[in-house]
Symmetry: C2
Subunit: 215 residues, 2 copies
Amino acid sequence: MFPGGLLLILDPDGFPGLELSKTAERALAAGARAVQLRSKRFSRRALYAEALEIRKLTRLRGAVFLVNDYVDLALAVEADGVHLGQSDLPLSVARRLIGPGDILGASARTPEEALAAAREGANYLGVGAIYPTTSKAEARVVGLEGLRAVRDAVELPIMAIGGITPERVPDVIEAGADGVAVLSAVLGAPRLEEAVERFLAAIRMAEQSRSKTRS
Amino acid sequence: MFPGGLLLILDPDGFPGLELSKTAERALAAGARAVQLRSKRFSRRALYAEALEIRKLTRLRGAVFLVNDYVDLALAVEADGVHLGQSDLPLSVARRLIGPGDILGASARTPEEALAAAREGANYLGVGAIYPTTSKAEARVVGLEGLRAVRDAVELPIMAIGGITPERVPDVIEAGADGVAVLSAVLGAPRLEEAVERFLAAIRMAEQSRSKTRS
């Protein structure tokens, strides 16, 4: 179910030599239900070839496939949606291009950005960095407090991102996230499948514990 | 008339501080009939704002507006078309996204690339660098011979690019170009309007001289 759960971000920039479609396949086989393709450095031509493969694999598994930044690439491979940052095309413009049915995700660090994204038609928010992270060293850390502030401001589903490990999942879900987006903790893990399974188990447990608290 | 004539490429990467829409307006007022927006460094958000302005100005003047690289940006501002390089989205994919009526330009350095572009639906070719150029220092020089080789291989209109000055226009047109794309020779000129006018006059004369030779 997406948004929610685990979103694996396939980002070759920080993991040179990463075999994108093979990694996607392994993660999906281990239970991941959503992947996002992200690269600032790859050429669009190279990303297109990768995206086509990942689209096939995610379709076979009934998993969600999102493309970061590039609306044209998302359209070209019939991805399920795009994720945009604050310096990408405006969300309202992207919504017009992808149509009403596709998923539109937006990075938001503050309640103001979150409210703007909600107004412009985002379906979910990516909020982070929750913790310091090596895979996007320049990302400002908003912490669990920043996550709570966004949670209080909007109804939109939130995917938390940045330095999240399976051990940290309970705190992140408790602070209001509906799911977590990960890179290093899975892509850099000694055993990718195990890392995926540990995240999925941690998310499931945190969700159960949260719904008990709320009921 | 485009393809053909003069294509002014607005590229802020090589000309820091360049006021894009103001420059477009001055060039259009001086007679330019086609402009292309190109930047590898600007954020898509920033380019979108510039592209909207340039779209307004070109529409007012009945001039052609092309966007380099970014098919989504071209769609978003209803540009007249896109220009793609060898590392961008495949031409056939771009054609599918922009539809049959919009202009699709493709960079081609060799007869092979030119033939492939023709097969994939390009409306014109950008061929260069004809001469060494400062605005794209890494561009390989194909020279007038490279231009002739492409000219002999395909029927598509050719816009020659790279180090072209008004003085060099006759040679370039004689070698088979239908028009010239310029950056530095206009953007870096002491008086932009005069540079545009000199190019337009040189192209007009070279075309007349070519049609005399041919008839």
